[in-house]
């Protein structure tokens, strides 16, 4: 199902949570809403779910206006950060709940519901745990139950609010893969909220980056990482060295650093250089190496420029011995934004 968000505004008291947000989500897409806390990403997700209602703007599902439709009428599957399982019900009853509360001829037979529960437990690899209570499961298992409970109603869209936020790193990684697998198996349009860029970049087809209630950029993980449209995106997604400086005559200058300004008008500007975009170059500027340490296949170098600016460089492991004393480096790529 396609989802259109059209210039949605939402305020909490005097604090604007969303301002003029536009977003188009294609059928079957896996989209991440990425942003720091307070950026409005959860509010946007809850607005799509029908758990919050916008002050202005529209939410369309397949072209149909659902802006003020209740959550119950929208047929969305919602997965909460804290699972929100019904603790007095068994796992199977939890998953069956959405089907069980249907009325009249919409309600599947007992056997159909049992079959569906069985299938879903298998899908999230929890077969045989249907009779347990949520308190008898681990965090990762609980989140899998929450996921299959949301999927049980065959939602037209699956919404997940920081689904892995409360889990430890190992479980988080495996559940990420699991979500991707479930998404590919069901083909349901999926939107998830996260503040973890690694999670967003690894899992999503497209990433929408939010800041202070507005969308800064929407694009594929590669696009937002390699071609950040705003300074915020550049600083938020991936590692970057940040330089405050001046643009003059098509060139960005900050201390000894010279970068092509790429069309940015003259005046103060901010430049971002990814650690891996700094390379050893005899024509470059001198930095003093403070520390070079090997991490797996990479060398991370902490250096200081002549004007005292700290610089982080990422190089291949083989280059580690060359980062000693004072070296000359240059940026092979940079992002410059007018201040």
């Amino acid at each position: 199902m396609t989802i259109s968000i059209r210039s949605v505004d939402k305020q909490f008291g005097r604090y604007p949570a969303l301002s003029k947000v536009d977003l188009e989500i294609a059928d079957g897409e896996l989209l991440a809403l990425l942003g720091p806390s307070g950026s409005g990403k959860t509010t946007l997700l809850r607005t799509i779910a029908g758990l919050e209602f916008p002050d202005a703007g529209q939410v369309l599902f397949d072209g149909e206006d659902v802006t003020f439709a209740s959550a119950a009428d929208r047929r969305v599957g919602f997965v909460f950060q804290q699972y929100a399982l019904f603790k007095h019900m068994t796992v199977a009853k939890n998953i069956a709940f959405g089907l069980d509360v249907r009325k009249g001829k919409d309600k599947p037979s007992k056997a159909e519901i049992a079959q569906r529960v069985e299938d879903l437990l298998k899908l999230v690899e929890l077969d045989g745990l249907g009779k347990r209570y949520p308190s008898q499961l681990s965090g990762g298992q609980r989140q899998r139950v929450a996921l299959s409970r949301a999927l049980a109603v065959q939602p037209s869209v699956l919404l997940l609010d920081e689904p892995f936020g409360a889990l430890d790193a190992t479980v988080r990684k495996s559940l990420r893969k699991e979500l991707r697998r479930v998404h590919d198996a069901t083909g349901v349009t999926t939107i998830f909220v996260t503040h973890d860029q690694e999670e967003a970049l690894e899992l999503a087809d497209r990433v929408a980056i939010l800041n202070k209630g507005s969308i800064e950029q929407i694009g594929t993980p590669d696009q937002v990482h390699d071609q950040p449209e705003t300074a915020f995106v550049c600083g938020f997604v991936g590692e970057a060295n940040c330089f405050e400086g001046q643009v003059g005559g098509g060139e960005f200058k900050a201390g000894a650093l010279r970068l092509p300004a790429g069309g940015v008008r003259d005046g103060s500007a901010t430049a971002y250089v990814r650690p891996h975009d700094f390379v050893l170059d005899d024509g470059g500027f001198a930095v003093r190496v403070d520390r070079a340490h090997v991490q797996g296949a990479l060398t991370t170098v902490n250096a200081t420029a002549a004007d005292g600016r700290p610089i982080e460089i990422s190089a291949s492991r083989a280059e580690a011995p060359r980062f000693q004393g004072t070296v000359k480096i240059a940026a092979r790529k940079a992002h410059v934004y007018a201040a």
Binding site: A72, K87, H88, G98
Partner: protein
């Protein structure tokens, strides 16, 4: 090859390895004493048992001993006399009905207090506790005056053919008054801690508001509700002060069991008084045990 030692390894241990093991320390009694990071078990348990004995167990044993001064036939005759049976029926029946009614209104009151903000909320909150604080005789007299056929409330009930004082209805009204705070105060914290996202989850799964309340919110309250119900019921069974002013106290009709005990005492029939007390004790204790068992079952998901 190294592998984790499991229980099986221990069980299949050979005589040789067993011999190399240092001798096990002599096993101490572990029924009451377990090594624990939280000290004070001995002290707290000792004080608890002493106080329970002095305040509860010994007086109750004395009641049983007193009743045992009679022959079994005498005991049985007093325990099952028509007047006693009528009194038990009224005491337990009215306490049960009052606890059920409190069970309904207590949940609504707790709901209103937890879920909404309204002017005068602090006042309502304080009013709920008033039955705890007010001398019960004052409550009884006030209720009797209000619900008497000529009272402020009673005058409107009389034309409808409802008599709300000096009969079992009056007893029930007094017991509702006495028991309300028990239900409200046990439900309130549980309702406050109940996560909102659970209700949102139910809504997103297509449940309407009524389904959500009946199938999600109320079942989660069940254990706390049972506690409140049991406390209100137990208090109602034993209540004396407020009831006697509104009950009318007609033998066989509106005479509660505690009053019957007092009447026997005033006639210096101590053994008879103790007999009725023993019957009430046994019934109450059994019912509380049953409610506790139901509660344990209702908490099976924790």
């Amino acid at each position: 090859m190294w592998r984790a030692r499991t229980l099986d390894d221990d069980q299949t241990m050979t005589a040789e390895t067993a011999a190399r093991r240092p001798p096990a320390p002599p096993s101490k009694r572990t029924l009451f004493r377990r090594r624990s990071a939280i000290p004070g078990f001995g002290l707290t348990m000792g004080v608890t048992l002493t106080v329970l004995s002095l305040i509860v167990l010994i007086p109750l044993s004395a009641v049983v001993l007193k009743a045992a001064q009679q022959s079994p036939a005498e005991f049985w005759a007093v325990a099952t006399s028509q007047r006693s049976l009528a009194a038990y029926r009224l005491s337990f029946g009215a306490a049960f009905v009052a606890a059920v009614i409190n069970g309904v209104f207590g949940v609504l009151t707790a709901w209103a207090l937890v879920r909404y903000d309204f002017p005068g909320k602090t006042l309502v909150n304080a009013l709920v506790d008033l039955p705890f604080a007010l001398p019960t005789a004052v409550a009884g007299i006030a209720l009797a005056t209000l619900y008497a056929p000529t009272g402020w409330v009673g005058q409107f009930l009389t034309p409808l053919g409802i008599k709300a004082a000096y009969n079992p209805v009056g007893v029930t009204i007094a017991l509702i008054f006495i028991g309300l705070p028990f239900v409200v105060r046990t439900i309130e914290p549980v309702l406050r801690d109940a996560a909102e996202d659970v209700e949102e989850a139910a809504a997103s799964l297509g449940a309407n508001r009524i389904d959500t309340i009946l199938r999600i919110v109320l079942p989660a309250l069940a254990p706390a509700w049972l506690t409140g119900f049991a406390m209100a019921f137990a208090r109602g069974v034993g209540e004396y002060g407020s009831v006697i002013f509104i009950a009318g106290n007609m033998p066989y009709k509106s005479e509660i069991a505690p009053l019957l005990i007092i009447i026997q005492l005033e006639q210096f029939e101590y053994a008879r008084a103790a007999t009725i007390a023993v019957v009430m004790l046994t019934v109450s204790f059994t019912m509380l045990l049953v409610i506790n068992a139901i509660q344990a079952w209702a908490r099976r998901f924790d």
